[in-house]
Symmetry: C4
Amino acid sequence: MPEPGDGIAALRTELAALHRMLVDSGLVVWTAGNVSARAGDDAFLIKPSGVPYEHLTPDSMVLCDLEGKPADGEQLKPSSDVFAHAYVYRHRPDVGGVVHTHSTYATAWAARGEPVPCVLTAMADEFGGEIPVGPFALIGGDEIGRGIVETLDGHRSPAVLMRNHGVFTIGADARAAVKAAVMCEDVARTVHLSRQLGEPQPMDAADIDRLYDRYQNAYGQ
Amino acid sequence: MPEPGDGIAALRTELAALHRMLVDSGLVVWTAGNVSARAGDDAFLIKPSGVPYEHLTPDSMVLCDLEGKPADGEQLKPSSDVFAHAYVYRHRPDVGGVVHTHSTYATAWAARGEPVPCVLTAMADEFGGEIPVGPFALIGGDEIGRGIVETLDGHRSPAVLMRNHGVFTIGADARAAVKAAVMCEDVARTVHLSRQLGEPQPMDAADIDRLYDRYQNAYGQ
Amino acid sequence: MPEPGDGIAALRTELAALHRMLVDSGLVVWTAGNVSARAGDDAFLIKPSGVPYEHLTPDSMVLCDLEGKPADGEQLKPSSDVFAHAYVYRHRPDVGGVVHTHSTYATAWAARGEPVPCVLTAMADEFGGEIPVGPFALIGGDEIGRGIVETLDGHRSPAVLMRNHGVFTIGADARAAVKAAVMCEDVARTVHLSRQLGEPQPMDAADIDRLYDRYQNAYGQ
Amino acid sequence: MPEPGDGIAALRTELAALHRMLVDSGLVVWTAGNVSARAGDDAFLIKPSGVPYEHLTPDSMVLCDLEGKPADGEQLKPSSDVFAHAYVYRHRPDVGGVVHTHSTYATAWAARGEPVPCVLTAMADEFGGEIPVGPFALIGGDEIGRGIVETLDGHRSPAVLMRNHGVFTIGADARAAVKAAVMCEDVARTVHLSRQLGEPQPMDAADIDRLYDRYQNAYGQ
């Protein structure tokens, strides 16, 4: 996994590959979803606006400052979600990557404005509780970014369901944010299906805490 | 993206590739769906009838006049939907491409004769409101084409759900019509799932207007 | 498409390819589904029992007589569904191919013992009415075959839902039976989804007749 | 299919391939699922913790003793589910392979704590009755393993739904356990869908017995 210190070139390559993962995971159709990655202290890379995933290359990723303004020399316009990403990077210095999708099941919860309850051990592991719902917000200014940051404040979840819209996820790096987007859709789908035929059994808050702590601290290599 | 001015050959290649996108997007099975593209002032290209997608080549696309009659020298019969496409091209000079599918979720709404309500920002972007329902109409004459044109008149949606049948979409070119078909199935599916567990929250008409205007005018490169 | 007159070798190749289509169409998992093809007047070829699809070759198809007995020299045991296929070939001289699957949505209707109502033009085209339900029957003798033949007698549908079990389809050749299996799952899924949120609108019997007649006689090349 | 006698190397290769089957069958996302295989009398091989499926190689499989302790020289930490697998191998000498997934439909039943009723001939074949539900249990000790063994004791099913968690399956070898995981998700999905629109028809216990006996004894080559 590249670090900013590896230079922008490595990060561009990583970001193009992560967009491919969004497609392969079935989280996006056409051009509706994007990944960004913090690049040093005062910039980030993001998908260009309206470019089909199959045409994305490392070079097509757009370097922007933390206000969402493209760097000199960039040929393409950044994603129209650029200001939401920028807001998150400005207000959450711990965040190194942001993902936005309209993945189907998560967006179905978002359209009802209903959080996904934590009724699976896999949810406790990754989200540490429910996946919360943020406000309805129009694109183009700070409104979406502020909704993301304010909603995630006070939750352990790296994912937020923006009302009538879709999902934003954050992570220590872009790959972690993609993982959160994949897991968000997976658990949103499983809990949706479970509720179709009755009520999932609730989990104890203490069990959720134990699972979250173990997964965040002891899982992996 | 080829323009008619590039000649018919380029348009045939584009049209074969767009049929491949219908398959890859999961919108069609066997031979049940087709794309057409306007070719100059008084003709269009369309899929041949009953030919499996994996056998389609640029040469197998059938050039027809605006009454749906194949041009001299065409070896294959055009899609049996040819008269619906022809009617649209005759009555909508702004339309450069038409797509027909029986994509699953959209057709499930069509079977109930129920429009897909606009409860997602992605729907506001692409459809500018609900996806409307057209009449039940038998294949083979002008009945389906007239139903498409009359239903879309008065809606911003480039997609119409033909009752007990499936989806027709239009676009400035064939690729735009394919995009509308992909987005139609995507939002039909998300709203279907959302409604399974309750009621999606309505969106303000003014917000839908703002989103539609921005997406149509400011999105992309 | 090979004809029996092309010899058994061509039919073996075709049959291996058709099993691949079952897999690619998502109709089967593991080893649960099979295709057979009539081979001359008194024999048919069928999948071997319990062999994974990825290991199937033209040579692994098992030639059987119309009682389901493998021909001399066959190394592999035929599918345990062989007697059902054999019964159909004995009693329906018009049938050149038989397919069996547990495809998901069709089998969900079969588990309730409920026919799929004809509420889609695509159903009228291919099935000419509802997809009927056959009896519960145990594997290993004539019981399933008789259930298939007796149920399809009096329906235009080439597909039957065997209660608590799955789907059998027939066709003039094996490819037509595979097409019926693909279309059966497709419409079973669409009608299932449509009914989840209300009642699909019924179609007039006269319209179903017209659509069926046109599709069977005028569609394709 | 390799036998332990073929040596550990062959088993490592087999186990890497079986993880690929979990991915291709859609049973797992990201790193959430694992396969293990008994390796001789007092050891088993298992997936390493948190390693993406696309990075797995035969060498990355971790050899552990029956307490779940990695063998000397192993570079990677075993799956955090290692103690559940180890418990099963210690208490079920007939078991040669164990699989764990969070496959969607099976986990949806597990979240409600509801067994999948046996209403399909394919379920009778593979599971010989319902797929039972085991207790809620925290990861990291013997609790999950004990829940698996105690729940499967008294059922013919090789699959158990662990409450609010996911699926564990067992088999004579790892491939058989993967088959059980594939079939478990398939029938959990079909029965779920069937119940969405009504009640599946029950099957006679005697019919289930006959189907199970035949499938276990007469099916395959």
